[in-house]
């Protein structure tokens, strides 16, 4: 077959090593662009089944578009410890840490996971390219930074049946693998690394492999996982799950300081609910001074979960003769939050939670209004007209099943 026009999605966008399979499975042919890759929005015509696979079965997601870097050398630990806000010195071989990293002003650049692959070798994942930032800060240190984004393919297997499926395939049992730890194992004769991590807030794993093995791993998972309900899952379902898990998304819930343009667009980890990940007792790290000062005076903003109260929401719709309209998918439109006449915050992503039967959102709120149970007004559009409806500040994660962290007895 020949094309007159050589430019197609396949020539203009990056294709994951799983594309040969995912492209054929994608019934809806709905794709999003994720870091220049074609990534399935959803595989089926509606995303509901994929969402419920995350929460009740096992969802398989291609997460190859994540940026990945390998830091290797005698100074690797020292380097990362200086780069990120968490304490990498206590990160043991086989352990994974979620962490933000900041600029000198203590404003967040990106967030991701740091995997300690060996004493002197780490992998760091990120939402955006970070090679230059890593290189710049590696100056004078004995280590190498290499872009692992294309040299490692990755899948996420998330949901209550994920462990059962992996135990059938992997050469060693994952029963003792704890939350945020990883292990090297084999699928038959294919070497893979498996970390107990994910972006869903459920029991789940991420599988890291050589791209040449990608299709074999995919086929194996789908075949062995079928009796356990394994379901190829797209970003639409993932977006609902990650909001339920209270996990932030760069460019949606915050803007990287690198392209914030104006000061007010920047956020510190304290303002993003990541204060727990800032280890001020560490000797020195990028942004420490600014973060210590901010911690001392208290952050100006906080990042919170809100629940939009049902009865009032329903009343708004009843008044116009409609049953309550709930968003069928997660939304990403900044939505104002008021206290009285004053706007005191804005929600950045929200969703109807099918598992909790609650309408939830993640929001930036001025610190004095961020206390749990504070009632604010959420702006709601009912038949094109703006209404205010009560929303309450609640704890995140909204959804936090015990299985996320537990190991079988």
């Amino acid at each position: 077959m020949s094309y007159n026009n050589p430019f197609t999605a396949e020539t203009q966008l990056k294709l994951s090593p799983f594309f040969e399979r995912t492209s054929k499975l994608n019934e809806s042919q709905e794709w999003r662009r994720w870091s220049g890759y074609l990534a399935a929005t959803q595989y089926e015509l509606t995303h509901d089944n994929e969402y419920f696979a995350i929460r009740t079965k096992a969802a398989l997601l291609d997460i190859t578009p994540l940026y990945k870097y390998i830091i290797e050398g005698p100074d690797a630990q020292r380097f990362l410890d200086r780069l990120v806000t968490r304490n990498i010195k206590i990160c043991k071989v086989g352990q994974v840490m979620y962490t933000p990293w900041c600029d000198e002003d203590g404003k967040q650049i990106d967030d991701g996971t740091v995997q300690r692959l060996s004493e002197n070798k780490f992998r760091i994942t990120s939402a955006e390219p970070n090679l230059e930032w890593l290189d710049t800060n590696a100056a004078g240190m004995e280590l190498s930074v290499s872009d692992d984004s294309k040299t490692t393919a990755s899948l996420a297997l998330q949901g209550p049946n994920s462990r059962t499926i992996l135990n059938i395939i992997a050469s060693e049992s994952l029963d003792s693998l704890k939350f945020f730890w990883m292990t090297d194992t084999h699928f038959g004769d294919i070497p893979v690394s498996i970390s107990r991590t994910g972006y869903t807030g459920d029991l789940g794993y991420e599988i890291w492999m050589d791209p040449k093995d990608a299709l074999d791993v995919w086929d194996l998972l789908l075949e062995k996982g079928k009796p356990y309900g394994i379901t190829p899952t797209g970003l639409q379902a993932l977006d609902i799950a990650r909001i339920e898990a209270g996990l932030i998304l760069l460019d949606i819930d915050y803007i990287s300081t690198r392209h914030a343009i104006i000061e007010s667009r920047k956020s510190s980890p304290y303002e993003l609910g990541l204060g727990w990940a800032v280890k001020l007792k560490k000797k020195d790290f990028i942004g420490k001074k600014a973060l210590a000062a901010e911690q001392a005076r208290g952050p100006e903003w906080e990042f919170v979960g809100i629940e939009i109260e049902w009865n009032e929401l329903e009343n708004h719709y009843r008044k116009v003769g409609l049953p309550p309209r709930l968003p069928g998918t997660a939304w990403r439109t900044s939505t104002p939050l008021y206290k009285g006449n004053e706007q005191v915050g804005y929600a950045t992503s929200g969703t109807w939670s099918p598992i909790l039967k609650r309408y939830i959102a993640l929001a930036h709120v001025k610190a004095e209004y961020a206390k749990e149970n504070t009632q604010l007004d959420f702006e709601l559009k009912v038949e094109h007209f703006r209404k205010l409806t009560p929303a309450r500040i609640v704890k995140t994660p909204f959804f936090d099943p015990e299985r996320k962290r537990s190991c079988p007895q």
Binding site: T46, W310, L326
Partner: protein
Amino acid sequence: MSTVNKYDAIVIGGGHNGLTAAAYLSRAGKKVLVLERRYILGGAAVTEEIYPGFKFSVCSYVVSLMKPNVMRELMLPKFGLELLPLESTFTPLDNDYLLRTADADQTYREIARHSRKDAETYMRFGPAMGQIGMAVRPILETVAPNAIRPSLSDMGAMKKLLDHFKSLSSEQFEYLTKLMTMSSADFLDEWFEFEPLKASMSASGIIGTFMGPRSPGSAYVMLHHYMGDIDGAFRAWGFQRGGTGAVSMAIARSAEHFGADIMTEASVEKVIVKNGRAVGVALENGDEYCSDIVISGLDPKLTFLKMVDESDLPSDFVTDIKNFRIRGSSGKVNLALDALPNFTCLPGDGHHLRGAISISPSYDHLERAYDDAKYGNFSQEPYMDIILPSVIDPDMAPPGKHVMSCFVQYAPYDIKGGWNDQKREAFGDVVINTIARYAPNIKDIILHRQVLTPADLESIFGLTEGNIFHGELSLQQLFTMRPAVKWADYTTPIKNYYQCGSGTHPGGGITGSPGEMAAKKILGIWS
């Protein structure tokens, strides 16, 4: 076991409505005891491992219209309510099929394959029914007023409903009148032309009732089933993970969270009535429990003709209850399967196995099935509503194996010569043969078969005459007449004796609604 024998309220029957009432009363601070006759909670909403490794939603198999406010107020998601989507309806035909899915474009194309006109009408039909649903909903959510001797609050309720009816558009009023009086077949004929589509849609008008699609009144039952759609993303309709028993368990955990005591294998023999007041219950084992009030979650026949003495009730009321129509019309066949059924018209695995499979090729098929029942036989080619729970929730069966739930109609309770083991197996054979007509491999993949006749539904679940709704959803048995005029507001002629089962307004299905409204009514009287 509790050592305290004095409760504020005792609920007879740990079915989902009894548990709901118990949860609401406990939530209001009352000391509540639930007494369940069986070893397991849930009543007809129960999951049991009848065959090792295979979980059956033995009786009730889908959650139809679980009330959103009940889910919220009892925090059911926290206690295990997980409703999975059940979105397609697949009607296999001899050489073709009809498949309706959650995707509007796909459904349009599929119906248009058979009738372009119907495909377009179908797009209008959903919203129209939604509008009617909105019109009917306030009735379903109102405690039925006593229209004969109305109290002040009854007058208020009636005024509110009157105002509501005045607010309906003439179109809504027209549809409502038609739905209340017509047969589902006549009603659907006004909209559609493709027979298998009409027959499949009309089927929801006969479920659980002793009527055919051409019987007047069946249109209302169809509307009753449509109500779930208006909740949209809230999804009051679906398949409960772990089977319908998990819904009951979620409500039970909620009730316990609020402080209720729940006992199984505690069979109530009689409500203790002193001076026209219920004061407690006596169990079959001789134990007695005292309470301020007693609430029955059983059907009206058991509630009034078995749990209490007729002499404690007004004779006209006893006549009403005796006349209450509760004829069982359906059976249930649960199968443990070694593999998936393979439909000749659409072979292999696919989305069509993830929803309802409706054996309803034509009105004639349904009506003939009804004819058999009218004359005291089970249908030779029954109507069936089938689901494969293990396709939606793989934990229902061992890996790679499946469970199949077949709701079968008609199987009359009053069968010629009465039900016996031989007839039960013959009925099971007819069901398998009917499925085999569309999926011939069924006979080779059955590992175990559980056949439940109306007589079994009565003896196992205490459903009088095997009626799954605790009494037919026919017009003369709804709202202010359910189960009897003057006693449709959850009260009974016996003081401190209340009712909260599906035999009360707004009727059957896993809704939690009778239990909720009964509890709220009781709390209103209490305060």
